[in-house]
Amino acid sequence: MQRKNSRVLIGVIIVVIAMAYFGFAGFQEGKAYYKTIAELNAMGDQAYGKRIKVAGIVADGSVQRRGEEVYFRLQQNDLVLACVYTGSAPVPDTFKDGAEAVCEGKVRGDRTFEAKKIQAKCASKYQSKYGSGAAAASPH
């Protein structure tokens, strides 16, 4: 009886080790450093070669499509980061002026950020319009 249970146990251990191995390998491939523009600037030369995600607000009027590349600037307070999107998927519909965007890619030699992937959340205009100052919500 004991021997049979231990055979099952060995099977379990093999499966667990295999999963851990795939997990570790995948982790190295899939990890990306999530940075704000300020943190990215602070990284200096450390930024080259790493896969980085950077978040910011799409600067008004900065989005320009040239051929298959899309040029734009990300803003965070008074910091600005020049970006170019070269990914294969079309940019998401929510990506436009004032949207919160998260770009994943690498820093080029000229400090331009080359994004391969973009996620964007649309700016919630409404909440700032009614949610502040002039109007107040009451529960009753």
Partner: protein, 676 residues
């Protein structure tokens, strides 16, 4: 109407608090009439929450923009069905929907078990009511959907009511027919798991740790699991046809949030069978269903908290700390409870062999839990890395794909092998008798595929296993039907129907497995995806995957709601016309939001998927993105088959109705004897 809905919601909160106290106090003091009063309170909360959500629907239908939530998510021009569906377009309404589904289920559980004097049921109802109270707390005090807009003028004591001319409207990306059904279906899945989990907790508390709680909630678990699965697939379908990036699953945190309880729920459904048949894995089942329950709450939290960035996530809200608190309390509570009951959770038998049904179920559980852990890790790692290392590191799709390809193939393998293994121990002879034909067929098909030019390790293994599993399932059906035809002299169709209806769990399970096989064929197809993109003006063309796309025209059109650009693409293959696609780029006038409307031609062989990505600044040409995605339809087909299989599993069977009628009669006798 807003006041009315709000009042009903407040009352529901107090009534459900009363329900908890009465149920648990009545159980402790063994006073039947108090338990009964608690059960009535459950019905009353159902009634009150229903009134509340009905009044919110009414506010949406009548576009009452004085109510802040209605103004945020609806507008006048929206068609009625979107106005109503806008109720779950945001945080507050979707939480109310959650509560409503839960209170419906609570009422059904109470009704189903009426007159059954059992501690297990009473305590389970109490646990459900506690969950209900938590959500009503959020609905009432944190995320109240009935808040009204008001303006404070200088000098006024109270704010004057404020009614905007029009609402902000429903996000154009949500204006899709699936908005009407996908969220409720997914929520039914989430909420449904509360019921079996509540019975598991009740079993721990009352020490009734036999199989009663498993059998009583088997259907609930299946229903929840079925809805959750179908909800996830509908979500994938929606992402595929709406978001325009050519894929259906992105390992986005919100997708992951719904996937995790599905994985642990799947593990539970399988290991529950082992408990019912062999009295093994008792503690394990309790752990699994409670993990599923906590993951459902966690998933609801994840979408709302703003902790993880996601395209789907709602805006950040104040409910986050409450969710964390509830999950932490419940988590610690159930762990302590399980530890204090370990003596009751001992297995009554052991594994006899690694080549047995029990052992295969164990591996099934291991893989599903490993899969769930991987998703959990990938989803929350950014949060933990920030807390522990001060550096936020995110994990992308390569991580998930690396793990899921081998795990998925292993699980597909088990799907084929496990149901044919005997309990306890399988002899080599019966093993080879069962598997020789499926193996041979799978080898032949795979060789044929390689000869036809199909390449790639993982997809070939997937096709190999798909044929193998399908033929093992077919053999099961054929054997069963043949046996009936011989034994009862029945014609084929009758034998098939009788076979399935007399063993619904078994054959329903096979149908679900077949659905999974179809879905894997769809997944494997992704290895052969091709895409291209380019700038086109009238007369230009693009080619990919053997197809040629000629841009015939680019049109600009206008509607009251939006204006749009439309490209006319004629598609040919080898000179023969295939179809004409019209991808659009819309800009909604109210919100200035643009959306791409995908144009698609879908066959079992492959989807041709065209997206109007935009217009280039310098040349003014249209940027068109084309995807050729083989076998995607098999995924949706598999989803439908899986849903049908689940329905077969939960259909009531004649024999068990008779048994339960007998059981009810017995309960009634016992209750009568008790009164004397």
């Amino acid at each position: 109407m807003a006041n009315f809905g709000n009042l009903a919601l407040t009352l529901a909160f107090s009534v459900s608090l009363y329900a908890i106290l009465a149920l648990l106090f009545g159980w402790r003091t063994r006073r039947r009439e108090i338990v009964k009063s608690g059960e009535h309170a459950v019905y009353a909360s159902f009634f009150l929450v229903t009134l509340s959500i009905a009044s919110l629907f009414y506010l949406f239908a009548t576009s009452n923009f004085n109510v802040e939530y209605v103004a945020q998510y609806s507008n006048r021009d929206l068609p009625l069905y979107y106005k109503l569906a806008a109720l779950w377009g945001g945080q507050k309404g979707s939480l109310l929907l959650w509560t409503w589904i839960l209170v419906i289920f609570a009422a059904i559980v109470t009704y189903q078990n009426r007159g059954r004097r059992r501690d297990l049921v009473t305590v389970a109802e109490g646990i459900i009511a506690i969950t209900l109270l938590f959500f009503l707390l959020l609905n009432n005090f944190i995320e109240n959907p009935f808040s009204r807009l008001g303006v404070i003028h200088a000098g006024d004591a109270a704010p004057a009511p404020f009614v905007p001319d029009d609402g902000h409207g429903l996000n154009p990306l949500l204006q899709h027919p699936l908005m009407v059904i996908h969220p409720p279906i997914l929520f039914i899945g989430y909420v449904g798991f509360v019921i079996p989990a509540a019975f598991a907790i009740a079993a721990l508390i009352t020490r009734e740790l036999g199989n009663a709680w498993v059998s009583l909630t088997r259907r609930w678990a299946l229903i929840a699991w079925g809805f959750l699965g179908v909800g996830i697939i509908l979500g994938a379908r929606w992402a595929y046809v709406e978001l325009g990036w050519g894929g259906y699953w992105a390992w986005d945190p919100v997708e992951n949030a719904s996937f995790m309880p599905w994985l642990t729920g799947t593990a539970f459904l399988h290991s529950a069978i082992v408990q019912e048949k062999k009295n093994m894995l008792k503690a394990w089942n309790v752990v699994l269903i409670l993990a599923t329950y906590l993951l459902c709450i966690f998933g609801t939290f994840l979408t709302r908290s703003g902790v993880v960035s996601s395209v789907h996530a709602f805006a950040e809200s104040e409910s986050g700390p409450f969710f964390i608190g509830f999950i932490a309390l419940a988590g610690v509570g159930v762990i302590l409870l399980i530890l204090s009951r370990l003596d009751y959770l001992k297995s009554e038998s052991e594994f006899d062999s690694i080549v047995s049904r029990e052992a295969s179920f164990l591996f099934n559980n291991l893989v599903f839990l490993g899969a769930c852990f991987a998703v959990f890790w990938g989803t929350v790692y950014p949060v933990f890395s920030q807390l522990l290392q001060g550096e936020k590191i995110t994990i992308g799709p390569p991580f998930f794909n690396r793990i899921y390809v081998p795990l998925g193939l292993f699980i597909l393998f088990l799907t084929g092998v496990a149901p044919l293994l005997a309990w306890r121990k399988t002899s080599f002879k019966s093993f080879s008798k069962n598997f020789i034909w499926p193996l041979a067929l799978a080898v032949i098909v795979t060789v044929a595929l390689v000869a036809a030019g199909v390449r790639g390790g993982a997809p070939l293994v997937a096709f190999f296993l798909a044929v193998f599993v399908t033929s093992t399932i077919m053999i099961e059906f054929v054997r069963g039907v043949a046996a009936r035809m011989r034994a009862h002299a029945e014609p084929f169709a009758q034998a098939l129907v009788r076979l399935v209806s007399k063993n619904k769990r078994r054959y329903g399970g096979y149908v679900v497995h077949f659905g999974i096989v179809l879905m894997f064929i769809g997944f494997a197809g992704a290895a052969f995806n091709r895409e291209t993109s380019g700038e086109v003006a009238k007369g230009d063309s693009l080619s990919v995957g053997g197809y040629t796309f000629v841009c015939e025209n680019i049109d600009e059109k206008d509607t009251p709601n939006y204006y749009f650009l439309e490209a006319k693409l004629s598609v040919t293959k080898g000179g023969k016309p295939v179809t004409v696609l019209y991808p659009e780029k819309r800009v909604y006038t109210a919100s200035e939001q643009s959306t791409s409307e995908v144009a698609m031609r879908s066959t079992l062989r492959e989807d041709i998927y065209a997206v109007f990505a935009g217009i280039t600044e310098d040349t003014g040409k249209a940027v068109i993105q084309i995807y050729v995605n083989p076998l995607v339809s098999w995924l949706w087909l598999g989803g439908i088959v899986m849903g049908l299989g689940t329905i077969i599993c939960i259909l009531p069977d004649a024999a068990s109705t008779r048994v339960s009628r007998g059981r009810k009669a017995l309960d009634r006798l016992l209750a009568a004897a008790d009164r004397k």
